[in-house]
C-alpha cells in the first residue's frame, strides 16, 4: 500500500511538472496555432539562465529567479519577432521545421556553452517545506513546485480574465479574424503569448532543474513528453494541460513501478496514438477536428 501511495505521489508530482511544462506549449498553440518543437530547449534555457545567474553572477535567489524570468520573457519575444513572424500564413511544415531548427540551434548552443554533463544548483530551499506524513515523504522541491505552480496558475487566471491584454489574447485564440477586425493588435498578441510561454517554460525548467539536475538532453526530452500531455488534455486547453500532465505522470510511474521500467517512456506515446485515433481533440479541447 505504501508503495502504491508513494508511486501515486511521485506520479502526481511528475505529472504536475509535465502539466506546468505543457502550459507554455498550449499558450503558444492557442493563440497562434504553432506547434512548438523547441519547447524542451526553452525549458533547458530557463534552467541554465538561472544556473548562470546564481553561480556565475552570484545573485541572491529571489533576484536570480526574477532575472531569469525576465530573460526568458525577452527571449520569447525575440523568437517570435525574428523567426515566427515572417512565417505567418505559411504552410504548416515550414512552421514546424522552423521550431525544429530552433530546437537544434538552441541545443547546440547550450552544449557548446555548458556541455552535456549534469549540473546541479546549490541547495537553497528551506527545510520546512519537507512534508513527512506517515510513510509518505514529499521532498521540499515538490512542495515548492506545487506552490509556485499554483501561484502561476492563479496569476495567469487573473491575467486572462481581467487584464485587457489577457482578454485580447483570449479573443485571438477564439477567432483570429474577428479579433483582427475588432481592432486587436494580433501581432502583438502573438509576441506576448510567445514571451509568456517562454517565461512559463523558464519557470518550469528551473523547477525541473532543482528536482533532477540540469542536463540538456534530459530537459529537451521533456519537450517531447509534452505532446502526449497536450493531446490528452486537449491542444488548446490550459487546464487540460495540467490534468493531462497528471494523468500521464501517474501512468508513467505506475507502468514503471508495476510493469517494467523500460516501458515507462513509451507508454505515453502508445496512449497518444490511441487518443488520436479515438478522441483527437482530447479531454477538454475544442471539437474542431476535420476528417478527410
Amino acid at each position: 500500500m505504501s508503495f502504491f501511495l508513494q508511486l501515486l505521489i511521485n506520479g502526481l508530482s511528475i505529472g504536475f511538472l509535465y502539466g506546468l511544462s505543457a502550459m507554455g506549449f498550449v499558450m503558444i498553440f492557442k493563440s497562434s496555432s504553432v506547434l512548438n518543437f523547441a519547447h524542451g530547449e526553452l525549458l533547458a534555457l530557463g534552467a541554465f539562465f538561472f544556473l548562470a545567474a546564481i553561480t556565475w553572477a552570484q545573485l541572491p535567489i529571489a533576484v536570480a529567479f526574477l532575472v531569469t524570468l525576465a530573460g526568458c520573457f525577452v527571449l520569447g519575444f525575440i523568437i517570435e519577432r525574428f523567426f515566427l513572424r515572417p512565417l505567418i500564413g505559411e504552410h504548416l511544415i515550414y512552421v514546424i521545421m522552423l521550431t525544429v531548427g530552433l530546437a537544434s540551434m538552441f541545443k547546440g548552443l547550450m552544449l557548446l556553452v555548458w556541455g552535456g554533463n549534469l549540473h546541479t544548483y546549490p541547495e537553497f530551499l528551506p527545510k520546512f517545506l519537507n512534508i513527512q506524513w506517515d510513510v509518505i515523504n514529499i521532498p521540499p522541491v515538490y512542495t515548492a513546485a506545487l506552490i509556485i505552480g499554483m501561484l502561476f496558475l492563479m496569476l495567469f487566471g487573473i491575467f486572462f480574465k481581467y487584464s485587457s491584454q489577457g482578454i485580447f489574447m483570449r479573443s485571438v485564440a477564439d477567432n483570429q479574424k474577428a479579433a483582427l477586425s475588432l481592432g486587436v493588435h494580433v501581432q502583438r498578441v502573438f509576441a506576448l503569448s510567445w514571451a509568456i510561454a517562454a517565461l512559463v517554460a523558464g519557470m518550469s525548467g528551473i523547477v525541473l532543474g532543482v528536482m533532477n539536475g540540469i542536463n540538456v538532453h534530459d530537459l529537451s526530452a521533456i519537450g517531447l513528453k509534452v505532446f502526449p500531455v497536450v493531446i490528452l488534455g486537449g491542444l488548446d486547453s490550459i487546464g487540460g494541460a495540467i490534468i493531462g500532465g497528471l494523468i500521464i505522470g501517474i501512468l508513467e510511474t505506475f507502468t514503471g513501478g508495476y510493469l517494467s521500467p523500460s516501458l515507462r517512456d513509451v507508454v505515453p506515446y502508445i496512449v497518444l496514438v490511441f487518443i488520436l485515433m479515438v478522441k483527437p481533440y482530447g479531454l477538454f479541447g475544442l471539437k474542431e477536428i476535420e476528417r478527410v
Binding site: 541545443k107 547546440g108 513509451v266 496514438v273 488520436l276
Partner: protein
C-alpha cells in the same frame, strides 16, 4: 531523322503529354547522359576512398530523401517517423541476410516491402487526422518503433546490434567502397527514374491533388485514404531500400542512428532541397551530407590546432547548431530550396543577356 528540340521562346504546348515531359529539350537529355557517364565511368576511378565513402552516403541518403519528398512534398503528409522506417529497412535486411540467408538482390526489395508495410500501418491515422495531428501521430510512431527495435531482443539482438555479411551478386563479392558505389548509384538511378515517372501517372497527380486541396480532391473522386496510405507505402519503401543499403554498407546495424534526429535530418534534406522536387531531394542530401563532413573536418582541424584542447570540443554541438541554422535560413530566405535556386540560375543564363 528526329528533329532536335531546343528551348522555345514561349509556352507552345498543345497537348498534355508535352506538358508532362521530363526533358523539355534534347539538351537536357544530352546533359543527363553525360552526367551518368561521368558518374559511373570516371568519378569512381578518380577520387580517393574517403570521397567515395562520402558519395556513397549521399547516394543512400538521396534514396530515402526522394521517398520522403513523395510523402511530404507531393502528398503533403508530414512524417516525423522516417528515421524509424529506415531503421526498419536496415533491420529487415540484416535479419534476412543473417538468419534467412536471403540473397542480396532479393533482400533489398523485401526490406523495402517490410518497411512499406510498417509505414502503411503508421499511416493509418492519416485516415482520420491531418496536419499537425498527423505529425504528432507519426512522432509517436517514431518513438514506438525505436522502442521495439531496442527491446524485441529475440529478433533484433537489442543494443548488441547485428553484423551483416558482405553481400554478393551472382557470386560477385561486393567488398570495397568502389563496388558499393556502383550498387548504390545504380539503385539511386533506378529509384529516381521510378519516382519521376510515378509523379507523371494518375497516382502522382492524385497525390498532388491531395496536397493542394484534400476536399476538392475527394470531390473529384479520388479515394483520399487509399492514396494517402499508398503514399506512405511508397515513401517507406524508399526508406526501407535506403535502410537495407545502409545495413549492408555499414556492416553492423544498431538501433542508435535511427532516432528522431535522423527523421529531422531527412525532413531538413527535403526542405533544403526543395519540397515537391525529385532532383531537389538529391541536392538536399548532398547539402546535408557535405555539411556534416565539413563540420567534422572543421572540428578536427580546431582540435589539432589546440584551440579547444582543454574543452574537448565535440562535433555534436557544432553540428546541431549549424544544422538548425541551415534549416532556419532556408525556411526564412529560400523556402523552396536549392531546386529553386538552381532554377533561378538556369533561367538567368538562358535569358542572358536580356533581363527577361
Amino acid at each position: 531523322m528526329k528533329k532536335f528540340r531546343f528551348h522555345p521562346c514561349g509556352n507552345y504546348h498543345d497537348n498534355y503529354s508535352q506538358e508532362l515531359t521530363i526533358f523539355e529539350t534534347d539538351f537536357g537529355r544530352f546533359w543527363l547522359c553525360i552526367g551518368i557517364f561521368f558518374l559511373f565511368f570516371i568519378l569512381p576511378f578518380a577520387i580517393s576512398p574517403y570521397f567515395l565513402y562520402v558519395l556513397n552516403t549521399i547516394g543512400i541518403a538521396s534514396i530515402a530523401a526522394i521517398g520522403l519528398n513523395i510523402l511530404i512534398g507531393f502528398t503533403g503528409q508530414i512524417s516525423l517517423g522516417h528515421g524509424a522506417f529506415i531503421g526498419v529497412g536496415a533491420y529487415a535486411a540484416a535479419i534476412f541476410a543473417t538468419t534467412l540467408n536471403v540473397p542480396f538482390l532479393l533482400s533489398l526489395p523485401l526490406a523495402g516491402a517490410i518497411s512499406a508495410l510498417v509505414g502503411m500501418i503508421f499511416g493509418i491515422p492519416s485516415g482520420r487526422l491531418k496536419g499537425l495531428y498527423l505529425t504528432i501521430a507519426t512522432l509517436a510512431g517514431q518513438i514506438i518503433i525505436e522502442y521495439v527495435l531496442i527491446h524485441w531482443e529475440s529478433l533484433t539482438k537489442g543494443t548488441m546490434g547485428i553484423t551483416v555479411p558482405r553481400p554478393s551478386i551472382f557470386g560477385f563479392e561486393i567488398v570495397s567502397d568502389q563496388r558499393f558505389f556502383f550498387v548504390i548509384f545504380i539503385c539511386l538511378v533506378i529509384m529516381t527514374w521510378i519516382a519521376a515517372n510515378i509523379m507523371r501517372t494518375k497516382y502522382g497527380r492524385a497525390f498532388i491533388a491531395i496536397r493542394d486541396n484534400d476536399r476538392a480532391a475527394e470531390g473529384m473522386g479520388i479515394p483520399i485514404f487509399g492514396y494517402k496510405l499508398l503514399s506512405f507505402g511508397i515513401s517507406s519503401f524508399y526508406a526501407g531500400v535506403a535502410g537495407a543499403l545502409w545495413a549492408y554498407y555499414m556492416v553492423s546495424v544498431t538501433s542508435e542512428p535511427f532516432n528522431l534526429g535522423l527523421s529531422v535530418e531527412y525532413i531538413a534534406m527535403v526542405i533544403i532541397g526543395g519540397l515537391g522536387s525529385i532532383t531537389g531531394s538529391i541536392y538536399g542530401a548532398i547539402f546535408i551530407t557535405f555539411l556534416n563532413e565539413f563540420l567534422r573536418a572543421l572540428t578536427d582541424m580546431l582540435m589539432n590546432m589546440g584551440v579547444f584542447a582543454e574543452a574537448r570540443l565535440n562535433v555534436a554541438p557544432l553540428r546541431e547548431f549549424f544544422f538548425g541554422m541551415a534549416i532556419i535560413m532556408f525556411i526564412l530566405f529560400e523556402p523552396r530550396g536549392l531546386a529553386e535556386v538552381w532554377r533561378i540560375i538556369r533561367a538567368h543564363f538562358r535569358l542572358w543577356p536580356f533581363p527577361y
